[in-house]
């Protein structure tokens, strides 16, 4: 190692080659250019020219300098010069690197990775083994081991910040485990830290220091991570229009930090900014809040909140369907199981709420299938006894039930009412009444409608009346001028029951015609949200829908992410198995946000005694100059080549420019190539083979005889199909449905899977059944063959039972016997039946399936086709066809070809275009 200030040479002895440069100079000077040969008649006149005229050909001096430059560059390059060679940290033992890649590391991620690369490259250059421990937990944890710097670099390239917190205690354990296996002396340790303290940070520092002197590299003096806590959306009372107040809250590492401004943006599903606000951290403050006021319709569009210029999972908050439009169910009470045609009743409600809520109508069963925030019963009837419990339970768990009065509600029809009602209604201002219609009084101060203005033209001509009770006033949210309640509400469990004492139609009052009606309904829906957000009435599993990565970007879920139980999602913290993101089916998604469960941020304490701490910039960046120098030498060499050709006139003038361009392209080509790394797809060879060449498949049965028959039978069928039809198939494949790695992707390449049911049959695992179902849904075809005839190979008379077992587990539409004119009977040959080894088996196909355009996804038979097809090695049929002999075997071949063609062409032959031709052949 030779060092000249900032420049060092790893192989300085090569520089001795520079001694040969003067010799090269002389040689270059003396080399004459190439001779051009010309035939010339007047050569006699050229003989013996005056020798003084013979000028020596000299290489131009600049060309010599160019060539020497090539040599010098090559020599320098081979001497392996290194810029900024780090002289500090001269320990030669292994380097253990702890690398924080939790959510907090997303800030300055580039700098972190560069620091890691610098550390690893330096170690690699000196041959020091390294071990990199990433502190964020992963789904699978492999034991830490020492590896070469090159290997570590390859894994370091794939590092990305995790959208969950680091677990330094676990990292410390891994370091300790490594230390136990024995680390050579002279080890040093580096911790590239994210600057956020957690419970295990002291432990990790101690573990690292136990291995060797510790250097902590972090974002010293740079901006620190920021957390955005889930915003709080509340109903605002300040504005006359029904508005929303959204309180956003940011957190950072408190103490000692100056005042700072951050911009919080609310984005909709298309990443358009809906609103933004500046949040100001006071000097030293750890949290800051700001308010966003906006109308409900706008607030409902918000899909996520993020902090401008902070790409981090913690600064990103997703809003789910609970945040957005409330699901409102508009139920029609059922009388004796008949749905009452009272659509008129729901019309005004739907008109009023449509723009603000997700209004669904239908009968109660349909509505209750999905989570509901509000259930509106507009037809003022009785709730059936059978449904009372169900609705009651729903209200108890936080639902908001809104009922409208009606002629049938005058008595206490059911317990789901907020107040006791008096028998009989009340009517004012009718044709037979002297009183005038009543108007609505100002809302009481305890009412959620309290700041709504009451228009003077809303009149009520009929209503139902509540029995006076002590708590009636408290339960009244709106009343008429004469003091009788218009809207009453009562808590039930965690939910509310609200009764509006008029109908939902203008029949009893002008309320449904007024703007007040809209406002009141929206208030009611707004109330429901808070209740709904706290508890979850849904049960079951919420599959991941969209996840956010460490930079706060939405990504599709990977295979490792499992579903979360619906009741647990509020309590679930972000972790490798439950990354933050949206879970659940469309329309009922729940957000799992990282920041929900984050503790208050604390700064990483000063490193323990003996540890040095530096910022990213302080990491010495060594630069290897060898590739650059050698590349420059090569470029100059190529240039010299072109120049020499030009000088010797070997290059036609017209070719000079293209040659130069070609040269430039040659130089640029490796870069272009490098920019586009080849992606080798990791495809199962069997699947690859099935994709490249179309082939049939048979399901492995676990019965060797049956498998042999199926294999041989399909091989013969494949040969016949290739010989007789335009379909060129390859050797049939074997599909093991009991294999662990069975997926729908592994089945989809096969147009047809032949499955012979045998005594050795085992029910495939649920995963395989799911794959098989998906295969059938996406256009695959399975031929089930369950021969039960006496004497059939691998038959014990119970194959039909087994077949039933499978079919019960598969999602197959109703099947029926193959009709004579079914497409299957005429896809290639015109057949009357589809015999196999036997002729008496029933053959069933789907009655009609619109998903696959009328093509049956299954053919269920018992004719033992494969036995009829199968041949031995000498090409002799294995089993006699009963009773028809060879004629029947030929029919069986034709049946097989028809099935293959049916799988390949679907209902093509059912097309009426072919009808005349088919009819002609059928009638002749």
């Amino acid at each position: 190692m030779l060092s000249l200030g900032f420049l060092s040479f790893a192989s300085p002895w090569i520089l001795a080659g520079a001694l040969a440069l003067p010799l090269v100079w002389l040689l270059l000077r003396l080399t004459p250019p190439a001779v051009k040969q010309i035939s010339f008649p007047a050569i006699r006149l050229l003989f013996n020219l005056d020798p003084t005229q013979r000028t020596t050909a000299h290489t131009p001096p600049w060309l010599i300098i160019l060539r020497l430059a090539v040599l010098i560059l090559a020599l320098l390059g081979l001497a392996d010069p290194i810029l900024n060679f780090a002289r500090n940290n001269e320990r030669s033992g292994p380097v253990v690197v702890a690398f924080d890649d939790g959510w907090a590391a997303a800030t300055h991620w580039e700098s972190r990775v560069r620091a890691l690369r610098d550390v690893l490259e330096t170690a690699d250059r000196r041959g020091q083994p390294v071990a990199v421990v990433a502190t964020a937990p992963t789904a699978q944890i492999t034991p830490l081991k020492l590896q070469s710097g090159r290997e570590a670099l390859e894994t370091a390239v794939r590092l990305a910040p995790s959208p969950w917190p680091a677990d330094r205690a676990k990292a410390a354990e891994r370091v300790k485990a490594l230390a136990k296996t024995g680390i050579p002396s002279g080890a040093s340790t580096v911790w590239i830290a994210d600057g956020v303290d957690d419970a295990g940070s002291g432990e990790l520092a101690a573990a690292l220091q136990a291995v060797g002197p510790l250097t902590v590299i972090d974002a010293k003096g740079l901006t620190q991570p920021i957390v955005q806590y889930p915003p709080n959306r509340s109903f605002t009372s300040k504005t006359e229009a029904s508005g929303n107040d959204i309180e956003v809250k940011l957190g950072r590492i408190g103490g000692g930090q100056p005042q700072a401004n951050e911009t919080v943006r609310a984005l909709d599903g298309d990443n358009q900014v809906v609103a933004q606000t500046v949040v100001t951290f006071g000097a030293g403050a750890a949290t800051a809040t700001a308010r966003l006021a906006m109308p409900t319709e706008l607030a409902n569009r918000i899909a996520r909140f993020d902090v401008e210029n902070v790409a981090s999972a913690a600064a990103t908050v997703l809003s789910d369907d609970h945040w957005q439009r409330r699901p409102v169910g508009l139920a029609s009470a059922t009388v004796n199981g008949v749905r009452a045609p009272l659509l008129e009743n729901s019309y005004y409600i739907r008109e009023a709420l449509g723009p603000y809520a997700d209004v669904r109508s239908g009968d109660l069963d349909t509505l209750m299938e999905r989570p509901l925030a509000v259930l509106i019963m507009a037809d003022g009837g009785k709730i059936l006894d059978a449904e009372q419990d169900r609705i009651g339970a729903w209200v108890d768990s936080g639902g908001l039930l809104v009922r409208f009065a009606g002629p049938n509600l005058s008595s206490n029809v059911d317990p789901l009412l907020p107040v006791k009602l008096r028998e009989g209604g009340r009517t004012f201002g009718g044709a037979m009444s002297w009183s005038t219609p009543a108007t609505v009084a100002a809302f009481p101060s305890t009412s959620p409608f309290k700041d709504l203005l009451v228009p003077g033209d809303v009149t009520v001509s009929s209503q139902v009346l509540a029995e006076p009770a002590a708590d009636l006033a408290a339960k009244t949210w709106a009343r008429l001028q004469d003091g009788t309640p218009l809207v009453t509400a009562a808590r039930k469990g965690q939910g509310w029951i609200v009764l509006i004492h008029v109908t939902a139609t203008p029949e009893w009052s002008k309320l449904p015609l007024s703007g007040l009606f809209v406002d009141m309904l929206r208030r009611l829906v707004d109330i429901s949200r808070g209740i709904q957000g706290e508890t979850e009435d849904a049960v079951g599993q919420l599959p991941p829908r969209n996840l956010i990565d460490g930079f706060g970007r939405l990504t599709p879920p990977g295979p490792a992410t499992g579903a979360i139980a619906a009741q647990d999602i509020a309590k679930t913290a972000a972790s490798p198995s439950t990354p933050p993101g949206l879970y659940g089916p469309p329309g009922a998604t729940r957000a799992l946000n990282l920041s929900t469960n984050l503790p208050e941020l604390k700064a990483l304490p000063e490193p323990p005694l003996g540890a040095t701490r530096m910022g990213f910039d302080s990491v010495t960046r060594e630069r290897v100059l060898k590739p650059w120098l050698l590349t420059a030498a090569l470029i100059l060499l190529l240039a010299d080549l072109v120049i020499s050709f030009a000088l010797r006139r070997l290059l036609p003038e017209r070719a000079a420019a293209p040659a130069a361009i070609l040269l430039a392209l040659c130089l640029a080509a490796p870069r272009l190539h490098a920019a586009e790394p080849r992606r080798e797809l990791d495809v199962d060879p069997a699947i690859r083979a099935a994709i490249v060449d179309t082939r049939l498949a048979y399901a492995a049965t676990g019965n060797a005889d049956a498998d042999r028959i199926a294999s041989s039978g399909l091989t013969v069928l494949t040969q016949l199909t290739s010989a007789r039809t335009a379909a060129e198939l390859s050797d049939p494949a074997r599909v093991d449905l009991n294999a662990n790695n069975i997926t729908v992707d592994g089945l989809l390449p096969y147009p047809l899977i032949y499955w012979r049911i045998t005594p050795g049959f085992r029910m495939p695992p649920p995963k395989a059944l799911a794959a098989l179902n998906a295969y059938l849904h996406r256009g695959g075809m399975v031929v089930f063959d369950a021969p039960d005839q006496p004497g059939a190979i691998a038959a014990d008379g119970k194959n039909h039972e087994r077949l039933e077992q499978i079919v019960r587990n598969l999602d197959i539409p109703p099947v029926s016997k193959v009709a004579n004119d079914h497409v299957l009977n005429r896809t290639f040959y015109l057949m009357k039946s589809l015999p196999g080894r036997y002729t008496d088996g029933q053959i069933m196909v789907e009655t009609g399936s619109s998903a696959t355009d009328g093509t049956s996804s299954v053919i269920i038979g018992a004719n033992d086709w494969a036995s009829a097809w199968a041949k031995d090695a000498n090409g002799i049929a294995l089993y006699a066809a009963i009773p028809g002999g060879e004629t029947q075997r030929e029919q069986a071949y034709r049946a097989g070809i028809n099935m293959v063609m049916y799988a390949l062409t679907g209902n093509y032959k059912a097309d009426l275009v072919h009808l005349p031709a088919i009819m002609q052949r059928l009638t002749n």
């Binding site: 250019p33 190439a34 051009k36 008649p41 050569i43 020219l49």
Partner: protein, 308 residues
């Protein structure tokens, strides 16, 4: 000879077509007679004595050795004497043509120029045509000094000459001929037209000229050169190879040798001119870059105007 007869015929027709274009623009070319050759062939040259011919020469008294058919009865009827009608003896002059087809004549510096030999052939055929039109006999001698065995008069002669020259031009490996041919068997007192580059040794050319002139033959030398031979337009380090086994030489900077070459070429040409003048011949230079029409016209003038 692997030569395709059809190719040869095409080449012959091509050469003749070019020659005909040139000849059509010029009047027929009778060779001025200094001393007619003693050839007993009919021609246009009256010998001013009685002999075979068309025009009347004299009446003379019948002698016993005359045939009765030669008696001119009309003249004899006027007087008592019997006369015999004699006609003027008319002979033709013979012109000898030499078209050099040696390897060095195959040279051309650029595809836009014809080979020197091709140009020589076209000019030879044009002159031959003009001579035939002028009633002369033509004889072609080849590079090895032999006379071409062919018709010597009439249109057929030109055609046969074209065929022969085309055959020579198309030969892949030209017959080995001396650089400067020796013309031994030439008719005496003929006219001769020589088409060559005359780049051989000056002494050899001088010997040839003197030997031919000694037979009373008047020669017209046409030096045909490629423009590159005139200016030596090459540059850089070049190895020049002779086309007739003269050897090779390497010149490092051809551009520097150019001046010296042109000097030597001028000296060589001056020597040729001196040779021609000494033998009473004419000498002209033609470059393949120029039109052959003018050169043939100049040659026509030189031949008709040449009287001693």
């Amino acid at each position: 000879m692997a030569l395709n007869a059809a190719t040869r015929r095409d080449e012959s027709h091509r050469l003749r077509a070019q020659a005909d274009v040139i000849a059509a623009a010029l009047p027929p070319l009778p060779v001025p007679t200094r001393r007619p050759a003693t050839v007993t062939a009919l021609g246009s040259h009256g010998r001013r004595r009685a002999g075979v011919g068309d025009s009347f020469w004299q009446f003379r008294p019948y002698s016993t050795d005359d045939t009765p058919q030669s008696i001119d009865w009309r003249q004899s009827g006027k007087v008592d004497q019997i006369y015999v009608r004699e006609r003027e003896w008319v002979t033709s002059q013979t012109a000898v043509l030499w078209c050099d087809t040696s390897p060095s004549m195959r040279y051309r510096s650029d595809a836009k120029f014809p080979a020197k030999a091709e140009r020589a052939a076209v000019m030879t055929l044009a002159i031959a045509q003009l001579l035939i039109d002028g009633g002369e006999r033509i004889v072609r001698v080849t590079g090895d000094g032999r006379q071409q065995r062919a018709a010597s008069a009439g249109r057929l002669a030109v055609g046969q000459m074209a065929d022969a020259i085309a055959a020579e031009l198309l030969e892949e490996k030209p017959a080995k001929v001396p650089e400067v041919p020796r013309f031994d068997s030439l008719p005496r007192n003929a006219a001769m037209v020589l088409f060559s580059d005359f780049l051989g040794p000056l002494d050899d050319i001088g010997g040839m000229v003197r030997a031919v002139a000694h037979k009373g033959i008047v020669g017209h030398m046409m030096q045909i050169l490629d423009p590159a031979e005139e200016s030596l337009p090459f540059e850089g380090r070049v190895r020049f190879v002779g086309m007739e086994n003269e050897g090779a030489t390497v010149i490092d900077r051809t551009e520097d040798a150019r001046a010296q070459y042109m000097e030597r070429l001028a000296a060589h040409r001056a020597g040729l001119k001196a040779l021609a003048a000494a033998a009473g011949w004419t000498f002209a230079v033609h470059h393949t870059g120029n039109s052959p029409q003018l050169a043939v016209a100049a040659l026509h003038n030189a031949i008709t105007g040449h009287r001693r």
